[in-house]
């Protein structure tokens, strides 16, 4: 019959019209400003620098300015200048730190390759997406101070990932300490055996 396809189509739209009033599977619109979207944990936007202690971000930056992310970043939007002096990092070892660490967020495409390649877990992906600025040039060039955020904030946005990273870092730190302690013990033990053997004449 000629009109049957059209009538079936009309029935579908009628079902949707009615459905959109009560069926949540159909009425999926979230009205944005009022309803904030719950982003999944892995969601990523622009990167940020992790600082162990929120109070003194510049002091406890994990980044050691090794510039791997600067080399690996496809659009080359990271600019790092190493510091002249060194400062102890979390494990007490003397490390460089970035005097200048700038990301041009107008170029960055948040592809998170920098996060992947960073051996020190110093840079992670943020979830803030409402970052419109009026100033196109300086407003989008984020410097070190604007990028740094506390580890605690990192825990709040990527909980599982943050706990894994912390666990790994803690394990590394413990291994480093044991190595240091073993080295110290070995150093302490080393002078004793070194003392007795000198009397043997070289054969």
């Amino acid at each position: 019959m000629l009109g049957s396809g059209i009538i079936k189509g009309l029935a579908v739209t009628a079902k949707n019209l009615a459905g959109s009033f009560h069926d949540p599977a159909r009425y999926v619109t979230q009205e944005f400003p009022e309803v904030q979207p719950q982003l999944p944990e892995n969601s990523r936007n622009f990167p940020f620098l992790v600082a162990d202690d929120g109070a003194d971000p510049m002091g406890t930056l994990r980044c050691v300015a090794c510039q791997i992310c600067e080399k690996e970043c496809p659009p080359q939007c990271i600019y790092i200048e190493k510091s002249k002096d060194k400062k102890p990092d979390a494990a007490g070892k003397l490390q460089l730190y970035p005097a200048v660490f700038a990301i041009d967020t107008s170029v960055c495409m948040s592809c998170q390759i920098c996060v992947e390649v960073c051996p020190f877990d110093a840079i992670k992906m943020d979830q803030v997406f409402a970052i419109a600025t009026t100033d196109r040039f300086n407003g989008l060039l984020l410097n070190r101070e604007q990028l740094a955020k506390s580890n605690q904030y990192y825990h709040s946005i990527h909980p599982t990932e943050a706990t894994e990273v912390d666990a790994r870092l803690a394990a590394e730190r413990k291994a480093a300490e044991e190595k240091a302690r073993a080295a110290a013990a070995a150093k302490a033990a080393a002078p004793k055996p070194a003392a007795p053997p000198p009397p043997q004449p070289p054969a």
């Binding site: 000629l2 009109g3 049957s4 396809g5 059209i6 079936k8 189509g9 029935a11 579908v12 739209t13 079902k15 949707n16 599977a25 159909r26 999926v28 982003l39 999944p40 944990e41 892995n42 969601s43 990523r44 791997i68 690996e72 970043c73 496809p74 495409m109 948040s110 592809c111 998170q112 390759i113 992947e116 390649v117 992906m125």
Partner: protein, 389 residues
């Protein structure tokens, strides 16, 4: 009175039957695009009309050329991976997979079984959203004021949420790595994927009830833009456009790459090669993808997701060349790489299916009206990011 174009210029391609030869009225030169509401992005068609029927059609594109291949030669292999998302920005997962496949052939890496399963699941999910999105846009061209498009996008949102939960971004996933995948699937993700896949056939039935039997849609598309199998094969077309003409060429069966032989699915082929067949082939392909997804999600093995030999940085494949190709939603998407041992590929070439499928646009549109040309363009399914690279 009417702006007369070049009066009866000689018809370029030989296959044009002299239309209205005895009445050479003024030919009307109409330029549709580059920002025309129905050209799927920045694409322009210089259409020469004799009255209502098209006598000549010259596609003009290149507006979205971003020098992707030259860029590929100046960045490391890993550096090009996020750029492949921007090729066919509706199916970033399949673009990634094709590129990863090419580099794996080059560097001799073998992804573990779980990674292969994940790739197949993501590729089939991408096929679902691409086909449903395309049918939504095709219906938008025929005139439904957005209803099928909104239904398709409602389902697409659910799949994009899955992609975001997995790779971090809805469309620019940058998920595949050479030798496996970047992030493992969490059980919660697998459950929501299974729920989505089980609900998809209901959406498809509703979609088909709205469209397949619709007399107006059938009248507008059946017999419009008829493509002969010979022309399709000679023009090197691939994907649903080729299968609609009756040629059953599907890389998942031909190359049997990944673990596709492990899944049983069928490849639908059309008989008339017209716009209606191209629409129906995509609907049937979506149903087959649901079959594959259900099987893949059911027996997803545990295990590592990355080839242990694979190093993230400093990948220097030995000198040589490789061509990795997969059955993307639009057709055969292939990456041809020549490496000279350095971290950057010497030559980085992409085989874009929608660009090659677009070459037959004029042959399909001759003799039709402007309204048909819009639908034919819609049925070929082009994405300008991939056409212009």
């Amino acid at each position: 009175m009417l702006a007369s174009g070049s009066a009866a210029a000689p018809f370029s391609s030989a296959s044009v039957r002299p239309v209205h030869d005895e009445f050479h009225g003024d030919l009307l030169e109409v330029s549709m695009g580059p920002h025309h509401p129905s050209t799927h992005g920045v694409f322009r068609m210089m259409v020469t009309l004799d009255g209502e029927t098209i006598v000549r059609l010259k596609p003009v594109f290149g507006y979205l050329h971003r020098n992707h291949e030259k860029l590929g030669e100046n960045t490391t292999y890993l550096g090009s991976m996020p750029y492949t998302d921007r090729l066919d920005y509706l199916c970033s997962m399949t673009n990634n997979w094709a590129y990863a496949l090419a580099v794996e052939k080059l560097a001799g890496l073998v992804p573990p079984e779980r990674a292969e399963y994940i790739r197949i699941i993501l590729a089939e999910l991408t096929r679902l959203i691409n086909h449903s999105g395309l049918i939504g846009f095709l219906m938008q061209d025929t005139g439904c004021s957005g209803t099928p498009l909104m239904y398709a996008f409602r389902e697409r949102e659910k799949v994009l949420d899955l992609f975001e939960a997995l790779s971090g971004s809805r469309m620019m996933c940058n998920y595949q790595r050479f030798g496996g995948c970047r992030v493992d699937l969490t059980p919660a993700w697998v459950d929501s994927a299974r729920r989505l896949v089980d609900a998809f056939p209901r959406f498809l039935d509703e979609f088909e009830a709205l469209l397949t039997g619709n007399e107006i849609f059938m009248a507008r598309t059946q017999g419009v833009g008829r493509l002969s199998p010979e022309l399709a094969v000679n023009a090197g077309l691939t994907g649903p456009v080729l299968r609609a003409t009756g040629v059953g060429h599907d890389l998942r069966k031909v190359d049997a790459y990944g673990l596709y032989p492990r899944f049983d699915f069928r490849v639908p082929i059309g008989a008339h090669g017209d716009t209606y067949d191209r629409y129906m082939i995509r609907v049937l392909e979506m149903r087959e993808s649901v079959q594959i997804l259900q099987q893949a999600l059911r027996d997803l093995p545990a295990g590592p997701i990355m080839d242990p030999k694979a190093k993230l940085r400093g990948l220097r494949p030995k000198a040589g060349e490789a061509y990795g190709r997969i059955e993307g939603a639009k057709g055969e998407i292939g990456f041809f790489l020549i490496s000279d041992g350095s971290p950057n590929p010497y030559r980085y070439r992409i085989r874009p299916p929608s660009f090659i499928n677009l070459t037959v646009l004029e042959d399909l549109c001759l003799g039709h009206t402007v309204a048909d040309a819009v639908i034919i363009l819609g049925s070929i399914d082009i994405v300008l990011g991939e056409v212009d690279r």
